[in-house]
């Protein structure tokens, strides 16, 4: 590794802003992952649900989870 690269790494490690940003990313990614899993489960559930009323409720929940995940992904891109 060249000295310049090493210096760059050391700088990013020492910079608190950079560290905070990375940490924020990490936790946001975790929540998004959970939401994705939840959305997948809901999609499976809606397939096996026969009651129309329940089906529409689950669909609403899917739409909501999707919107939250989309918002999270947008934020992740900005970070």
């Amino acid at each position: 590794m060249s000295i310049r690269k090493l210096l760059k790494k050391a700088k990013s490690f020492l910079s608190s802003e950079e560290r905070k940003r990375k940490e924020k990313r990490k936790f946001l990614e975790r929540v998004i992952k959970k939401l994705k899993k939840h959305e997948k489960n809901l999609v499976e559930r809606v397939k096996s649900e026969h009651d129309k009323n329940n089906q529409s409720k689950i669909k609403e929940e899917i739409a909501l989870t999707h919107a939250q995940r989309k918002k999270g992904l947008k934020m992740l891109k900005k970070l």
């Binding site: 940490e23 924020k24 936790f27 946001l28 975790r30 929540v31 998004i32 959970k34 939401l35 939840h38 609403e60 929940e61 739409a63 909501l64 989870t65 919107a67 939250q68 918002k71 999270g72 934020m75």
Partner: protein
């Protein structure tokens, strides 16, 4: 000792607290935790005060607290070993000055960690310097004054010196400091070995004073723990005094086995200290459960008015994570009262609202006139409790990191949201109480819809609270925002029809509009409160959840999208 405590307190912002939480679920774990943490921190007082604050905040059970205290009694004996084995042999005063210089420099640093290191270095520096000067002092008047002339032999001496040791520890508030004094005095033969043993026994009782003072500001569990501490140390001391000659023999045998010279009284004192505290643990351990039961029976919680706080105590203010946890639990307690008041304001019982019954059925059976006095409950419970939370948070805020401050701020805001929700329920109740009994079926139905909507909010909040560890559960609260918006939209459409067809009067429609606004605000406040209060993960996970949750404009957008989707689906079908 004070400086050392200050230093370790700087590091209690999470590490010690999370360790304490994880390592106290079994007796052997809490015992080992007490031994290890006290050995590291060299202060049983700090460990006992932290344990009391944890207990008061409801984070650990009494049995675990007692286990830690028992362990810390053994852990504190490592101090005697350090001073006797290391402090008197090596010329530690040479290290004292550099430690003090660097310690003071670090104390003036901004970072909490560096400051903590500074306090620890400074504390150790003072301790080393103190040992050196005490040794020099005793040696200086060794030739002129002989304190051993005042030595008292036999049992009267044991009692007298135990009392002196007790008093000295009460004054210095540190058994460690007393022990350092005893060992240095013993090393230059200013006190006899037998009297030194008695002094150490007295110091062991005296150390409970710090815990007793710490427990004064705490709740009944804190006081029970301080009492357990006192009982343990008293019983150990009585046994040690009763069998002092047998113990001395045992110390001689153990010392011989360890290779300690027969005339090395300082190390023999350390052996004695460990032996009699170990003996105390062995003696008291079988009775621990009965002792906990006895304390619970004898020390009953004070009869409190409902408005008094349960989890806030002065001991928790200095420990950042404990302060946050205590504030959270107290705000949760506030919500419990508020939920009951809101349900009462709707003419319902909270138990029915949270039951498995369909809400339509619950509402249909609750036809009695609503006479629930929200104002009285607000004044008697909510206001007092919330002001206590606000006061506690303001006091705790001084020693927190920015992230922890944000967390406390969010909790205070959650409390305010609860307050607002109760106030809005009061406004809503005025018309609701009147219209749910109105002969006009349409208006009755509309007001019952409001009751169903708000009851379902309370039910959903309870569900989320039960599975608070899951991010998706907390984020599912956004569904309530969507449902409320949808309700508002549908009500608008329904109201137009009702007025047009003259099924409700204009004044009824105005009341309905105003009250649906209150219901909307109640939901909004409760959801915002739950987002802050019901997520239980790490602070940063909670922050991430909060940032992802949808705001009002995004909820509108989502509703718009779903309406468009439904319309296009309907068109396809037709």
């Amino acid at each position: 000792m004070l400086t050392l405590e200050e230093g370790f307190k700087a590091f209690t912002g999470g590490v010690l607290e999370s360790l304490l939480r994880k390592t106290t679920d079994k007796l052997w774990k809490s015992l080992s935790f007490g031994i290890v943490s006290t050995s590291i921190m060299q202060s049983s007082s700090l460990v006992s005060v932290i344990t009391i604050s944890f207990l008061s905040a409801g984070l650990i059970p009494l049995a675990a607290g007692v286990g830690i205290i028992f362990g810390s009694n053994l852990g504190t004996t490592t101090g005697a070993w350090l001073v006797a084995g290391f402090g008197l042999k090596v010329k530690i005063s040479a290290y004292a000055m550099p430690m003090l210089v660097f310690g003071v420099i670090l104390i003036f640093q901004k970072g909490k960690g560096l400051k903590g290191c500074g306090y620890i270095l400074g504390g150790l520096g003072f301790l080393f310097l103190g040992i050196h000067h005490m040794k020099e002092g005793f040696e200086a008047f060794k030739d002129t004054i002989d304190l051993t002339a005042y030595a008292v032999e036999g049992y009267p001496g044991v009692f007298l010196f135990a009392v002196i040791g007790l008093m000295a520890t009460v004054v210095m508030q540190s058994s460690h400091a007393t022990l350092v004094l005893i060992i240095t005095a013993l090393s230059v033969q200013q006190i006899t070995y037998e009297n030194a043993l008695a002094l150490a026994i007295g110091a062991n009782i005296g150390t409970t004073v710090t815990a007793i003072i710490g427990s004064l500001g705490s709740n009944v569990d804190g006081r029970r723990l301080a009492c357990a501490h006192l009982i343990f140390n008293l019983v150990t001391a009585i046994v040690a005094i009763g069998f002092i000659y047998q113990l001395t023999d045992a110390v001689d045998r153990v010392s011989e086995w360890c290779g300690i010279a027969p005339d090395n009284y300082s190390l023999k004192l350390a052996v004695f200290h460990s032996l009699f505290n170990g003996l105390g643990i062995l003696l008291m351990l079988p009775f621990m459960k009965s002792m906990v039961r006895f304390l619970q029976r004898v020390m009953k919680p004070r009869q409190r008015t409902v408005a008094q706080s349960r989890f806030l105590n002065k001991a928790a203010i200095d420990l950042s994570d404990t302060a946050i946890e205590a504030s959270k639990r107290e705000t949760m307690h506030l919500y419990d009262h508020a939920a009951r008041i809101i349900a009462g304001g709707l003419g319902l019982r909270l138990e029915d609202v949270l039951s498995q019954q369909p809400l339509d059925k619950v509402i249909a059976t609750a036809r009695a006139p609503i006479r629930f006095d929200i104002d009285e409950k607000y004044e008697a419970i909510i206001k007092g409790l919330y002001s206590e939370i606000v006061r506690f948070i303001s006091q705790a805020q001084s020693s927190l990191s920015p992230q922890q401050s944000d967390e406390l701020f969010a909790l205070r805001a959650a409390g305010r949201d609860i307050l607002e929700a109760v106030k809005d329920t009061k406004h809503l109740q005025k018309n609701l109480a009147h219209y749910v009994l109105d002969p006009n079926q349409e208006i009755r139905r509309e007001y019952n819809r409001i009751r169903v909507a708000l009851a379902s909010v309370l039910r959903k909040l309870e569900q989320v609270r039960k599975q608070g560890n899951d991010s998706t559960a907390v984020l599912s609260l956004d569904a309530l925002k969507v449902a409320m918006k949808e309700y508002d939209h549908e009500l608008d459409a329904r109201m137009n029809t009702l007025i047009r067809e003259d099924r409700i009067s204009a004044s009824m429609s105005i009341s309905l509009m105003k009250d649906s606004g209150y219901a909307y605000d109640i939901t909004k406040n409760l959801v915002r409160m739950a987002e802050a209060l019901f997520s239980t993960g790490e602070i940063r996970t909670r922050e991430a959840e909060r940032s992802i949750s949808l705001d009002e404009a995004e909820v509108d957008e989502l509703l718009q999208e779903s309406r468009v989707a439904t319309e296009s689906q309907n068109n396809e079908h037709s």
